[in-house]
Symmetry: C2
Subunit: 204 residues, 2 copies
DNA sequence: TTGTGGTTGTGCTCACAATCACAAGCAAAC
DNA sequence: GTTTGCTTGTGATTGTGAGCACAACCACAA
């Protein structure tokens, strides 16, 4: 399995595996077979084995995968072994909901700063962060933060993205319903809730 | 192109086309070529043509696609030509953010009811809806609502899903980080924000 | 030391989606 | 009426990922 390009679809499944292994660890289970794991995640056992084997041989034949060390391996592959700092732009309802989302901590994410353009919000505290003026985004350069979560209206998204990229941001989770024009080196993932909901009626 | 199964990936792109055509309509543009549309959406022209042609011939050779009527066609394909009523379960921060999300109206969605299990929230008003007790989900049967948005903690998600399905819900947009066990006839779409964010560090 | 049950790792095959290339066809100009 | 330019619709090709079957292998027991 050496010298193989790793499929994007495999990468997409890795956080799912990480979460499963993390939960198993808290339950003090020491090993798990691809069969058992597949039942939990509703996948096929060979797919799980193939996914994991792209990164090397983690398991033991006849036994399964060691929970604790495999979790650490995946964490390291996804670069989640060090705490990842992220900034949030947009302190509206969606932004504040995101900021207080408990699920991030499992992956080691930490909201390190929050920005907004509304004077009524600037200066207020959300969680442990003070809401700063979007004009201050430029100060991120010095702080070496590489991830941003964008929760602003669609018409403001591109402008914020430009400022973030200029300030050294390398990855953006975009929650606005729009395409962001960014340089190739910047990775954008867009989640468009309305669009996802839009396909449901077709299937029912 | 008759008698072809329509790819899931095509369906996923249809709401994107619908939004684009809707915006073009407000800008009073009468026709658009696959080339122009591809530039807007950052897709390839042949892909757009093939996607649309699965549902019949909408365009005019030499001219392009008529904005207004194509929008209506797509709306009808996705069953968004009639207002789709949906219920929201979970009136926490994420739930309230979703309830007031402006993007739903473009697709004709309407939040028709909101449920929560927290006595502090039950009875309060969010937007035009009164927050009801989750125990009342059973009353949905009489209201003929088929869509639900699930914004509750992971450990409560399966229980709520069971109640919703029992009350006649056919499609669920699940925002909890967990797999939902549902009958085959029910369509579930899960959005896991933390998991999406989890793949970003790998790419940067 | 050898045998056995069980599980991983992976080459191969199949299915599906993206892309290409071109024929078909419409509109407008002359 | 005919020609020209442009754009669609689609069969054929290529690329990518999922699934399967089996060889390789480990741990443990006898």
């Amino acid at each position: 399995m050496k010298y193989h390009k790793i499929p994007d679809e495999t990468i997409k499944r890795m956080p799912m595996y990480l979460r499963a292994f993390s939960i198993l660890k808290t339950q003090n289970q020491e090993t798990i077979s691809s069969q058992q794991l597949a039942e939990r995640l509703h996948l096929n056992p060979p797919q799980i084995r193939k996914d994991l084997s792209y990164f090397g041989a983690f398991g033991t034949r006849g036994i399964g995968y060691p929970v604790s060390s495999t979790a650490e391996q995946i964490r390291s592959i996804l670069k989640l072994d060090v705490s990842q700092q992220a900034v949030l732009v947009g302190a509206g309802r969606l932004g504040t909901a995101i900021a207080s989302y408990p699920g991030f901590s499992m992956f080691g994410f930490d909201i390190a700063a929050i920005f907004d353009n509304d004077n009524n919000k600037i200066g207020k505290t959300i969680g442990k962060n003070l809401v700063e003026n979007v004009a201050e985004i430029v100060t991120l350069k010095a702080r070496n933060i590489r991830l941003a979560i964008l929760a602003v209206p669609a018409n403001a998204a591109q402008g914020c993205a430009d400022a973030l990229i200029d300030a050294g941001i390398k990855g953006i989770l975009n929650l606005s319903p729009c395409y962001l024009n960014v340089p190739k080196r910047v990775k954008v993932i867009t989640i468009d809730i309305a669009m996802e909901l839009g396909i449901l009626p077709y299937y029912i």
